[in-house]
Symmetry: C2
Subunit: 192 residues, 2 copies
DNA sequence: CAACTACCTGAACAAGTGTTCCACAAGTTT
DNA sequence: AAACTTGTGGAACACTTGTTCAGGTAGTTG
């Protein structure tokens, strides 16, 4: 009991810290990275103006913390897409969901990508889902798999700038084309 | 002579206007959309602080004008990639150039994409190269072609967040995989 | 030449920014 | 209990932002 006893103050603080990060992500989803200010985040999180400054030395630190955290969600989302049993229908469904129901989240995730392009420290986080995808899929044909991963990014981005986002029926044939040849994406290690 | 005589004042104004747009694009390439302010643009263009406001009612108008204009360059660049004679080597070379020599320009172009995601008025411009690509290529297999176009976006984006951007040798096999089946992308109807 | 017009800009303003500071509240330890 | 640590938040500061505006300047016209 005494062992895992933690300072109640720190516990509450840590909770608030996470609340601030989550509020920041909501702001990014709504208004983009440009809309992130100490005050807008504080308002969104329902904390005083100075709270974000207290928990994060600088606005940049808050942004980076938020994006690193959101990168894990990106990773999960993407892996869910990739590992949809290698079935084109499932993959197409996930992609369609990303550009429709989860549009703002997807948009936020690509803001992360872009920011990573300018800030090397964010790159490992932004790239993580790509590395993990290769790990879990163990593709028989690495080249085909890289093409597949690239196309996922492209389909999502292009889906975000379409007048009406594509649905799963439109996406399915394209996905089919991409995964033909890597019949079962997760198959490789068996015979080798 | 008298016919095409234009007010010298207006001519100078139009020139300055274009200089401001070009300066804005340079700022975007260097610091991203976030770095665009009346003052930063004015400094870059070597004009007084109020000049951008004079020529563009609002900062947003300036940003939109710049992005619409840059979208034409994006279109040209992308078409150059797509229409590299349908040869994988050429396409790979163009892609490698985009993420190396022209890295900052490519980054700026994806800022346009992302902004278009949030501002419907920018979407037609951002999408233009996709439509034009289909026009000029007249692909025999539209599905394969869409997959190819998506993969271009993905390869570029992923190239931008890599620790070391890929070179043409790494890209070539992936491109080859993508255009297999659409042997000659520009082949379909040869009836001129 | 002067009159006119259209373009241009320096100074200024209100609003919003990141951040600091300090008094104080809440929790923990001695 | 007192002494300490940690969390909290209102006021304030220096600074940057977008935008306005009145006066000035260059180009055109009579």
């Amino acid at each position: 009991m005494e062992l895992q006893k933690v300072d109640g103050r720190k516990a509450r603080g840590e909770k608030k810290r996470r609340a601030i990060v989550e509020a920041t992500l909501r702001v990014i989803e709504r208004d983009g990275v440009a809309g992130v200010t100490h005050r807008s985040v504080a308002r969104e999180a329902g904390v005083p103006t100075t709270a974000p400054t207290y928990y994060f030395a600088t606005l940049d630190d808050l942004l980076i913390a938020t994006l690193l955290w959101s990168a894990e969600e990106l990773c999960d989302d993407m892996l869910k897409i990739v590992a949809s049993g290698g079935c084109a229908r499932e993959i197409a469904r996930s992609l369609a969901k990303a550009v429709n129901e989860n549009r703002s989240r997807t948009l936020a995730e690509y803001e992360l990508y872009l920011l990573a392009g300018r800030r090397p420290e964010l790159r490992p986080a932004a790239r993580r889902w790509l590395d993990r995808a290769v790990e879990v899929a163990r593709p028989a044909d690495p080249v085909a798999f890289r093409a597949f991963l690239a196309a996922i990014d492209g389909l999502l981005m292009q889906g975000l700038i379409a007048d009406v986002a594509p649905n799963e029926d439109e996406l399915e044939p394209i996905v089919s084309f991409l995964i033909r040849g890597c019949d079962d994406l997760t198959a490789a290690p068996r015979e080798q």
